[in-house]
């Protein structure tokens, strides 16, 4: 009978507080993760929005090709028109 009472007391005084302590720790950890995840989500969304202009690189590539082609044409003409520098 005494052992039963000791077991009850251990259950109430030791096991229950330990369980509560551990559960509170898990809850605190989970709660602290939420704001971090929210900030990461906002940063990722902002990064995605910032990259909307990347598609314009295709236009830039096209324009660069045309510009270089035009410069090459001018260079060819200048090469014919102008004399080379004297060595």
């Amino acid at each position: 009978m005494t052992l039963w009472w000791i077991g009850d007391i251990v259950l109430l005084v030791v096991v229950l507080p330990v369980v509560v302590y551990l559960l509170r720790g898990v809850l605190n950890a989970a709660t602290s993760i939420v704001p971090s995840v929210d900030r990461i989500a906002q940063a990722a969304a902002a990064g995605s929005n910032d990259l909307d202009a990347v598609q314009l690189l295709l236009t830039t590539q096209d324009q660069v090709e045309k510009t270089i082609a035009t410069a090459a044409n001018y260079g060819g003409s200048l090469d014919v028109i102008l004399d080379d520098a004297r060595a």
Binding site: V37, A41, L51, I68
Partner: protein
């Protein structure tokens, strides 16, 4: 207390302790579940945004190297043409006039250009000439001139050119000596020479004997 009642009390206390432990588990685990659901939702949004980032940056691996390749070819072309036409020394001076201090970096394809003493061409050539050269020197078109004024300032360009000429036209006088009027109705008629229109004078024939 009889043994039966004592045993029953011990049992009830144990049941109460177990119930308290289960209740604590339920309360805390439910809150943990709620927090984990929030985390899952946030991670889903993050994964969606990261997926968008991956999708948007997909062309970078092909487009940016292609742009760089084109620009490299342009720079090689224009640097080579500049050196061929102006000579290495003047070319270095021209670039240094556009970008002060650039002479120390030199040309990519002419390593010996870093060892040259750059002439101060920027003080001689007009702004327009330097601007034309600038377009081939990895500069963004329509970028601001590091020297200050706008690139296409006509007055500045023409002033720089006028300064190369004598002082008379440089100061823009209201009246300048007019060119002489010629013709039959000219205010000043010059005496006509007799020999104009006459047969060309011939030297005397040499005596054959």
């Amino acid at each position: 207390m009889t043994p039966v009642l004592a045993m029953a009390a011990v049992g009830w206390v144990m049941i109460l302790a177990a119930a308290l432990i289960v209740a604590a588990l339920v309360v805390y685990l439910v809150q943990v579940i709620v927090q984990l659901r929030k985390i899952t939702k946030g991670l889903d949004e993050t994964i969606t945004s990261v997926g968008e980032i991956l999708e948007k940056t997909k062309p970078l691996n092909t487009v940016v190297p292609a742009i760089n390749q084109q620009l490299d070819a342009g720079v090689d072309l224009l640097e080579g043409l500049l050196v061929q036409k102006a000579g290495l020394v003047d070319a270095v001076g021209l670039v240094d006039g556009l970008y002060p201090g650039a002479a120390t970096a030199g040309f990519r394809n002419f390593p010996e250009s870093t060892e040259l003493q750059a002439p101060r061409i920027g003080e001689v050539y007009t702004q327009g000439t330097l601007t034309l050269a600038r377009l081939g020197r990895e500069a963004p078109i329509a970028a601001g001139n590091p020297a200050g004024p706008a690139l296409r300032d006509v007055e500045r360009g023409s002033l720089a050119a006028r300064e190369l000429y004598p002082e008379v036209r440089q100061t823009k006088p209201q009246t300048m000596p007019r060119s002489p009027v010629i013709g039959t109705d000219a205010p000043v008629q010059y005496e006509q020479r007799d020999d104009i229109g006459a047969p060309r004078k011939r030297l005397p024939q040499p005596n054959p004997s």
